[in-house]
């Protein structure tokens, strides 16, 4: 592609067209059966979550004290919990919490972490050094312990849960956004843009951002799985969303205390968590295989 035969500015002309790479990766991922199965699982759960208000047979908070701890069957397809609430309905509604908490946490982490990484890499020098050191401190702390401390201290509720999970995921996003930025800023088209007097903001948004998107997105899919797991773990420890809102981790926790008489109380939500994390991992895995240049060359 030569600059002469193109009406665009030189800097834009030399920038590789990123959407094509992303499309290619998607096409490759689609041909991978694992990815497709994973996508189907995620889609099914997403559908259940979105349609929960219409397809759930009962109100997830409605207690029926006479119908406590019923085994699966009859009026309650998956049984009832210690308050006589319908497990199936709670699972469906719980999917909403799992998904919305993880999606928002990862979105936040992606935006903040990505921005930190990009800016830090772009500015470079001492600023970069200090920023990355801070990120390293964050990174070196086990995410569950970090989440545990944040939620326990701020108090367990939806917003704090999202903040805590986002906090644990910022550092990896900063790292993954920084590395390509460092490489890109030395590249011809960025230098050209700078020579043409483009503002830093414009260079960052028009030239660097499109080129790191695919890597950050793959990372986001993989971290989504982690986020679902951390959310469930925190709820299991008792630091989840406030009752009577159903969460899978919280349901597993309640079920665990009744494990001797009613094992399904703990196993059903446990399986739901497993399924969602597995689906996300399968999708993320396929996407990574498809976008990782090292693996592509294999």
């Amino acid at each position: 592609m030569s600059a002469a035969s193109d009406s665009r500015t030189p800097a834009e002309a030399v920038a590789p067209p990123p959407p094509a790479a992303w499309k290619r990766a998607l096409a490759k991922a689609r041909s991978n059966p694992t990815t497709m199965v994973g996508a189907l699982i995620c889609l099914a759960i997403l559908l259940g979550a979105v349609l929960a208000p219409w397809i759930a047979p009962h109100d997830p908070a409605e207690q029926n004290i006479l119908d406590r701890l019923l085994p699966p069957g009859g009026d309650y397809p998956l049984g009832t919990d210690q308050f006589g609430r319908d497990i199936l309905s709670r699972l469906l509604w719980g999917a909403r919490i799992s998904l919305s908490v993880s999606l928002s946490a990862i979105a936040i982490a992606m935006v903040i972490g990505g921005a930190i990484g990009m800016v830090s890499g772009y500015i470079g020098g001492r600023f970069d050094l200090i920023t990355m050191q801070v990120m390293d401190v964050l990174l070196s702390f086990p995410s569950l312990i970090l989440g545990l401390i944040v939620v326990a201290l701020l108090g367990p509720d939806l917003v704090n849960l999202i903040v805590a999970i986002a906090l644990t995921a910022i550092a990896p996003f900063a790292r993954i956004a920084r590395a390509p930025t460092l490489a890109l800023k030395e590249r011809a088209f960025v230098e050209a843009g700078r020579a043409l007097g483009f503002s830093h903001t414009r260079i960052l948004f028009r030239h660097i951002l499109p080129n790191i998107t695919s890597e950050v997105m793959v990372m986001a899919t993989l971290w989504l799985a982690t986020a679902v797991r951390v959310e469930a773990s925190l709820s299991f420890i008792g630091l989840g969303v406030k009752p009577p809102t159903p969460t899978w981790g919280g349901m597993t926790r309640d079920g665990f205390e009744n494990i001797l008489d009613s094992a399904w109380l703990a196993t059903l939500p446990g399986l739901a968590i497993l399924l969602l994390v597995l689906g996300l991992n399968m999708v993320g895995d396929g996407l990574r295989d498809a976008t990782d240049p090292k693996l592509r060359n294999e």
């Binding site: 326990a152 108090g155 367990p156 009752p243 009577p244 205390e257």
Partner: protein
Amino acid sequence: MKGLRAALLGTAFAVAATAAAQAQSGPTLRVGMAAQDVGRLDPHFAVSTIDRVVVAWMFSGLVRFKPGSIDPSEIEPDLAERWETSADGRTWTFHLRRGVQFHGGFGELTAEDVVFSLRKSGTAASSAFAADFRAFQTVEAVDSHTVRIVLRENVPSLLGILTNYSGGFIVSRRAVEQRGADFVRAPIGTGPFALDRVTPNQSAELVAHAQYFRGTPQLGRVSYRFIPSDASRDLAFQNRELDVNYGRADQTWINRTRQVPNTVVDVFEPGELAILNLNTRQPPFNDIRVRQALAHAVNRAELVRFRGQDVAREGQSVVPRGYLGFAQQPLLPPDTNRARQLLAEAGHPNGLTVRVIHTQLPEMLTMMQVIQQQLRRSGITLDLQVVEHATFHQQIRQDLSPLVYYSAARFPVADIYLTQFWHGRSRVQTPTAVTNFSHCDQADAQIDAARVSTNVEEQKRLWAEAQQILVQNVCGVPLIETLLVFARRDNVDYGYQLRGSMSLGPVITEQTRIR
């Protein structure tokens, strides 16, 4: 390095204690408790159920509740053989039993130890129960085995304060002075069992005190094991890894445990009365119609059904039943329509949302969820702010929650409950605060008059009047009383019938044995 030294010192104590304990041949009783760990083992700081249960095995008071009973009329001599009262009831003289030996070779109990202990109990810096001793003027030793207590004013039950419960436990003066801050992990008392060692997060190990004044205990050791998860503890009990197990006050649990072979489930007093305390000084509950609406929205019978007939019973007043001075009150019946009507009259035709701070402690959270559901039917939405337990206790004392779910048992005399929860002096956010979350003070005159009255009938009449006033004002909505539950293997014989225990767990005495 100081930390290391302290650690070594701690070990040294444990070793010393082991050495002092004589070789025991009796069997070991294994008790499973829902706990992470014990706290400070100074009996005057034992406020949690976990700590109360175990200090009662290691310490004695001047008098004691008859084992298995919490009836104040059955209080009997313990470290004191006998006592006299002056005509005005303000001067009490206690004659100590002779030859009572402390654990670990700390010698014979004397009046000095008793004076020291009671003064320690009465001082805020060294005791969690100092407030109970407010009426004490002086405590002094008359001779080596006689103690005299002089009171400022009459108290409804002086013997109650001196029992083997809360501030009444007697410690060794020499041990406290020698060990200082370390006393909390190497306590010395006169009870049937002495502390051998604590393995953090695992267990507290006790050995029989061979010189116990009622005779050498039949058990050799008691192992008090901390297992927070109900499921694991139950399973360990079923697998015969435990002899005694802390139970869940829940019908499902009791029914299932009763089916385990060779198992006895003991359900015993005191009942913990749960009350919804309503802040009468703040909206929305400063309007009595809203308070009445809430009272109509609560369905006690359903709460009892939820908990189980064996462990729960309906609350009948703002004082738990069975307490000296308790008087049953007519409470507002469950009536959803009436509740909605009252709310509309009070200007909430579309219902009401209340932001409530609540603890994440599982048992309390479970109950609150049932109540949340009941209130929802009458248009009252509880927006639960669930915080961890320490924060809950702090924030409800800062008036941050207009509605406070509080469940408590106290010494079984109406005065204590009425004073702590319903007397103006105990209002939270005041210097003398205890647990008056409703800010009600309408019954102060009756409560105060009853306390100093020397006429029992007069006292009872005043207490009944106070309860009537508080219920009429809907300062709080009584919910249910929940009893305590422990399971044991049927070869465990406590040595008495377990009908009640102020230490909230079975008292292990010298007569407790494994058949």
